[in-house]
């Protein structure tokens, strides 16, 4: 049963959530839209294109302390970081919710990542269906949809005078305020998106590994980390100790396969030395290695990398180029 | 209860003149503020601006770079490069919000023990007047 909340209902509800939870919601920061913990409901923006960074940072922060090292009289104690608060992420689009579901693959597989798992189980996801899509969006080609409720606890869909409220999970039901009326209006069809071929190409990935295409594509690649850091599913990280004024912490931070030194060992050995090999890793991890391990492609079609790549390496174009290469190969 | 604020100073002193000058200040018991941690470098020209920025990042209140007087460099011209580099760096750090008074570049010869002691007292007093740096 779908419920209905007026905009006032929604704001009152958010306000009440703020009393009990950390609420992470899209806010404006300078020219950016970011998911950030809010202190009051007025900060929240409801109408936005995909945020600059995806909400993955709540579960895998750009930087976090895994544990700190305390020394007392020669005795060493390792003090783990604890997750202390329940949280609600409000307003995430279905593609971003799918991104989180995909990250569950590596982080919840045994041995589970304790911090990730704690945050995941103590965070409720309140999704916001997309009434509009952007030219860079292609979620429907990646197994999601602008109105996909499958990876959130509650899905909100904006209608003329308020929001349709779908409680998807028990966790979502428990979070909702009492007394919302049933929604009896009509459902709006989700906006349409252009299709990007995916499945056919994925099956051909193995044959394309040594294709000169990768070096050609990498010619213009700058090997910055923008695509990986804006991506809702890129999850590579680095770990090192951080010391400051005698305080020692083991820290992990985002890292990307495009970085120099990503696969370089201390002994000086690096399996990937050319630009093409580095760039290829990004696409193979998304479209071959990840699916082999977790049965789904590591792309949700949010379009952030398309939007932000300084040299227009467009993942959709890569997929269709690969399709052309495959066809040319099978044709010859 | 008020603990008197003690600014933390890092001093990069060239081996040939300024380090010897500091040494002289010490051995002749001229007495200078103990807030300084001295790092001996072969030449003031060895001091990479990165060293200075890193000191500030890790909580130094002031940084002193000191070498031979222009014309007296053991390597002939190292300190002329120092002069150019740090003239620009002081401006730049000031622009980034680290007051230029916190970075001093001084020429101190091996015989200027007294001058070293005096300028350090002066520097420390100035830093005390500026007060602790705001977080980072």
């Amino acid at each position: 049963m779908n419920l209905f909340a007026s905009k006032d209902d929604l704001i009152r509800w958010l306000d009440s959530l703020l009393q009990e939870y950390i609420v992470i919601a899209p806010v404006r920061v300078q020219e950016q839209t970011m998911f950030q913990p809010i202190s009051k409901v007025e900060e929240v923006i409801f109408d936005f294109d995909n945020t600059t960074l995806s909400p993955k940072g709540w579960f895998l922060p750009p930087t976090e302390t895994l544990f700190s090292v305390q020394r007392d009289d020669g005795q060493v104690e390792l003090v783990p970081t604890l997750v202390e608060h329940d949280a609600v992420i409000f307003g995430l689009h279905p593609c971003d919710a799918k991104g989180i579901a995909l990250m569950d693959g590596p982080f919840l597989q045994e041995p589970g990542d304790t911090l990730y798992r704690e945050r995941r189980s103590r965070t409720a996801l309140v999704g916001l269906a997309c009434r509009q899509v952007q030219p860079e969006c292609f979620c429907t080609s990646m197994g999601s949809a602008p109105d996909d409720p499958s990876n959130v606890d509650i899905l909100l869909t904006e209608v003329e005078d308020g929001y349709i409220v779908q409680a998807v999970t028990e966790k979502g039901k428990a979070l909702l305020p009492k007394g919302l009326a049933e929604y009896k209006g009509k459902m709006h069809p989700p906006p349409k998106l252009q299709a990007v071929p995916t499945k056919e190409v994925i099956s051909a990935m193995r044959e394309l590994f040594d294709d000169p295409y990768w070096e050609q594509l990498a010619d213009r690649c700058l090997h910055c980390n923008i695509c990986a850091y804006v991506c809702p599913t890129c999850y590579c990280f680095d770990m090192r100790d951080y010391t400051d004024k005698g305080k020692v912490e083991r820290v992990r931070s985002w890292e990307s396969c495009q970085s120099p030194g990503f696969s370089l060992t201390a002994g000086g050995y690096d399996p990937r030395t050319t630009k093409g090999e580095r760039l290829r890793q990004r696409f193979y991890h998304k479209f071959l290695y990840f699916p082999e391990q977790f049965q789904d492609v590591a792309c949700v079609g949010c379009g952030r990398c398309v939007r932000d790549c300084p040299v227009n390496i467009d993942i959709r174009e890569v997929i269709s180029n690969l399709q052309q290469v495959t066809e040319a190969k099978s044709g010859s | 209860m008020s603990v008197e604020y003690q600014p933390k100073v890092i001093g990069f002193l060239c081996n040939w003149c300024s380090y010897a000058g500091a040494d002289m200040a010490g051995t002749s018991r001229m007495g200078y503020p103990q807030n300084i941690r001295i790092i001996r470098v072969p030449c003031s020209g060895r001091v990479d601006p990165l060293f200075v920025v890193k000191c500030f990042q890790r909580g130094a209140d002031g940084v002193l770079v000191s070498g031979c007087h222009p014309g007296d460099c053991h390597y002939t011209e190292g300190n002329y490069h120092t002069r150019r580099r740090f003239t620009l760096l002081r401006e730049f750090l000031d622009y980034l919000g680290i007051a230029k008074e916190r970075l001093r570049v001084e020429w101190v010869s091996a015989s200027e023990g007294r001058r070293f002691a005096e300028l350090l007292s002066d520097f420390t007093a100035e830093l005390a007047r500026l007060g602790p740096r705001s977080k980072i």
Binding site: Q32, T63, R220, A228, Y229 | V53, L88, G97
Partner: protein, 288 residues
């Protein structure tokens, strides 16, 4: 679009490839959005038909010459980008006889994002005084009469007029947004150290934390390493995904270097850069 200019670029590029004068041509093609542009590497004469040039071709293609060392390449160069050629010649990073420079007369670049093109000229173009590239082997199009505003550095002087504390707060807020994607470094024609200080582990300069205090060190040193070397293409600011105003750093140094040393990077490949030289009788007020 100036089709005449584009045809000249295409003809020249085709000619160079057909004759084998160069192995490849680095130019611009239309981006996937059908509106903006992106770098194109043409190795086959047929690919030269994709070359374009218009007010969206902001990328400084000179950076790519560093990836193609040892190969003879042609590159499409705007007047501002030509300063990067001079910089890299001065620093012995490229060889003049390995580069064929297709210079272009430039109408100025507009602000663009993927699938968005504004009418607004980029700030660097509003004060650009160059009517044609400083160095080229072939000039496509015409010299452009410039009615440039004078570079007054008004935004810099405004920042300078603030208090030290206000500036500190401002910059920490800006650097606090940084996600250390290093796009500013990767796009910069002056950033080519084999191992960047930011990646160096011994000694370790930039800590692993992506946090304001580490980002602050990164941005301070990134900018300062380019003091007297930044040629003002402003690509770093254009590519920054979180809009950190990097030109406020680069142009502050540009302004000070001009005032202190009467030097501008990339104007003359033979001129000694400010940190490679000195005058004995200068800055005598400095130090004791």
């Amino acid at each position: 679009m100036d089709m005449d200019l584009i045809q000249q670029i295409r003809d020249k590029a085709r000619n160079l490839l057909e004759k084998g004068t160069v192995e490849g041509v680095i130019g611009y093609e239309r981006a996937g959005d059908g509106l903006t542009s992106r770098p194109l590497f043409a190795y086959d004469p047929s690919a030269t038909e994709r070359l374009i040039f218009d007010e969206t071709c902001a990328h400084n293609l000179v950076k790519y010459l560093l990836d193609k060392k040892g190969k003879k390449m042609a590159v499409v160069v705007k007047p501002c980008d030509s300063r990067a050629i001079n910089l890299l010649l001065n620093e012995k990073q490229i060889e003049r006889d390995k580069v064929f420079i297709i210079g272009v007369g430039c109408p100025g670049m507009v602000e663009t994002n993927w699938n968005h093109k504004s009418e607004t000229l980029q700030a660097k173009c509003r004060s650009c005084q160059l009517s044609k590239p400083l160095v080229y082997d072939f000039l496509a199009g015409r010299e452009v009469e410039r009615q440039a505003e004078e570079e007054t550095y008004s935004d810099i002087t405004e920042t300078e007029a603030e208090s030290v504390a206000t500036r500190r707060e401002f910059w920490l807020e800006q650097f606090g947004r940084c996600i250390r994607c290093y796009a500013c470094r990767q796009v910069c024609p002056g950033c080519y150290c084999p191992v960047c200080f930011a990646e160096r582990l011994e000694p370790l300069w930039v800590g692993i934390r992506i946090a304001p205090e580490e980002n602050d060190l990164w941005h301070t040193i990134r900018a300062f390493h380019l003091a007297g070397r930044c040629i003002g293409c402003n690509e770093c600011e254009r590519v920054c995904p979180v809009d950190i105003p990097l030109s406020l750093l680069n142009r502050k140094l540009e302004k000070d270097v001009k005032e202190l040393f009467a030097f501008e990077a990339g104007l003359d490949p033979e001129e000694q850069p400010p940190f490679a030289t000195f005058k004995k009788e200068e800055m005598l007020e400095f130090g004791g």
